[in-house]
Amino acid sequence: MKQHKDVIVAYAIMLGLIILVGVLQSWSIALSILCFCLISAVMTMGANIQWGYAGLINFGIMGYTALGGLAAVLVSVPPVKEAWQVGGLSMILCVFVIVAIVFSIRFILKKFKKTKKRNYGIAAVIITGLILLRLISGPAIESIEAVSPATTGFLGGMGLPILFSWIVGAFFAGALAYVIGKIALGLRADYLAIATLLISEIVIAVIKHEDWLARGVKNVIGLKRPVPYEIDLQTKEWFINLVEKFHRGTLNLITDTLEKQQLLKQLVIESSTVFVKLCFAGLFIAVVTILLIITQKALYSPWGRMMRAIRDNEEAANAMGKNVVKQHLLIFVLGSAIVGIAGAMMVTYDGLFTPGSYRPMRYTFLIWVMVIVGGSGNNFGAILGGFAVWFLWIEAAPIALFLINFFTSGLEETNTFRVHLVNSIPYFRYLMMGIGLLLIMRYRSRGILPEKIKHI
């Protein structure tokens, strides 16, 4: 128990802060912060597996998050039949062409020796393939995007419950990670960082501009939810009864029936949003718990020990007969898949998919700040980092406002300097993140909850 004291204390403080927000601001805000904290926690777990367990830098988190979101759209949106009729066949043909290109390149790579001729051959295959793709897909894409462009204009999805997308998102992200890993894992640390950063930008560019896939920057809105809708709840008998029971104390104080009815109505509306967010939080907690159990088990298994050995001394691990390349690829795929789950969770929670909102600051660098602040190599630390940094990210504005008012209290309300500062409050969060990261790296370089290695 004693050795877990700091973990318990850190989490208790975090919980206390969220409850404080609930009391001071509102429970709805507190719960949405909690939900996003949980999503961030899943992302940091993914990044932590890669960085903390294996020492791989992955600056492509944004790309995997977006792929998870894409999975949510492709799984839950009902298929657009018209679009499939006009362009579905050609798009399926395109998939076959891509598969054919990949296999013919593999065939050439296997069958022929490394010569200039082989390179030209591969280039020729790629170029003819691309021209073929362009010819097939061009008209199909045009006709798909022409199908009532204001509401659909894309192929749609499978029409399945959105919860499936959490798994599908993991597979999407894992598949991309497999390809990237095959290409880029041989690079040195900071090259890998830059390469993954750039590849994630390419992923975003594709999602943004291929409108037939998920409407691009026109966004997909109104995704189905795994939890009830507020409007439905407000008319349900059992829910109204529940609210009545919960607020009996306040309701009993009022004697006028009409007033009582009105108050109850308002309470029901308020509690319905809280209830929905509670449901989401429950689902997310379940995911985080399952992942935490799995990752903890993995960390203290022989496999986890091997990963640490590879991280700390690649050559020695290699000499001991461990396949470093294979293990790196495996962990790269696993970590990315977890990030993909988080991406799908986030889109599920928001109920909309907005490719334009994926920016590296928010989805790559912020997650890295979380991992480093929390403590890389320690799952509890990574999750705590997700909670603490996200909390600060959201609550930075009120804190900054308070500080500005405190330090400029000598100045008048209309002072230009003060007004300018108050107007630029949203950017103080960057300042806090930066200074926080620098301070942690300087004075507690292993994070708030550092990695603990059990020596046997």
């Binding site: 090259y191 390419i202 300087r442």
Partner: protein, 336 residues
Amino acid sequence: MDFINAIVLLLNYIFVPALSYGSQLALGAIFVSLIYGILRFAYFSAGDLMSFGTMFTILFTWYFQSIGISLGVLPTALLAIPFAVIISILFTLGMDKVVFSYYRIKKSPPVMLAMVSIGVMFVTQAIVRIIIGPFDRRFFDGERFILKANEFKEMTGLNEGLSIKSTQALTLFVTIVVVSILFWFLNKTKTGKSMRAYSDNEDLALLSGIDPKKVVMITWVIAAVLATIGGALYGLDKSFKPFTYFNNMLPIFAAAIVGGIGNPFGAFLGGYVIAFSEILLTYAYRKFFVYILPESMEPNSLIQLLSTDYKFAVSFSILVIVLLFRPSGIFKGKVI
């Protein structure tokens, strides 16, 4: 005649814009490459250092405009750049003293320094946005064009016009001057040679009595100068927006790596490689083919290899290809 028209078309829409964009990237890539070579880490706040310098250029430009100083046909910003450079130098040296020097003395791994530079990136971004805001700003004044399309048409009697913006000419001129001074400095002066020695082999350089503090300080000074000038030129040519500058970090890194990271001359050329390939691959060649092909073969599609939306993707793809097949870059940088 048609053939000349086609050439002028390409000059106007590809060659001139790519040359000025490439110069702006090259200035950034050179300092990223230098920092990588001498301080040995990937400096992720490169784009934000550029926006920091540009911000002060704009502030000084506004100040000069308000007291009625201008350069006539030339933009006032040229007068402001030296002052902005001084502030940027103070900023980079201050950041080095407060943040980076600790890890350098401790001999932390490069990854650690790269992470630290992300912290610096957050801070720089915050400073820029708090002082000047996240909005799009134009600060160009003076004569807009050196050669207008209409004038060119009248002069030559061609169908196609060739226009050269004064900012494009200015970019090229300033880049040539700055880069020549820089390479003269690196290749001919004693300090420059000691920097290259330090970059090649740190231990050997230290043994031969090179002062590491001086080398590091001069690296940061050069970085600040190049970042401010490059950023200000980009802002004059297009416009200043902090988010765009942050994004420019990506093609700049691409240029530095393509050119062979740690090799400033490679980075210089890498800037042009990236700029030209971006514009060449996303330009719609329809008009060009209309001019050079006989009428019966005129194309009816745009003949565009990639839509302009994928402009960024082009530079990244080049980077990935280079990383895969020639990790030391086209012009042999550090072998990694």
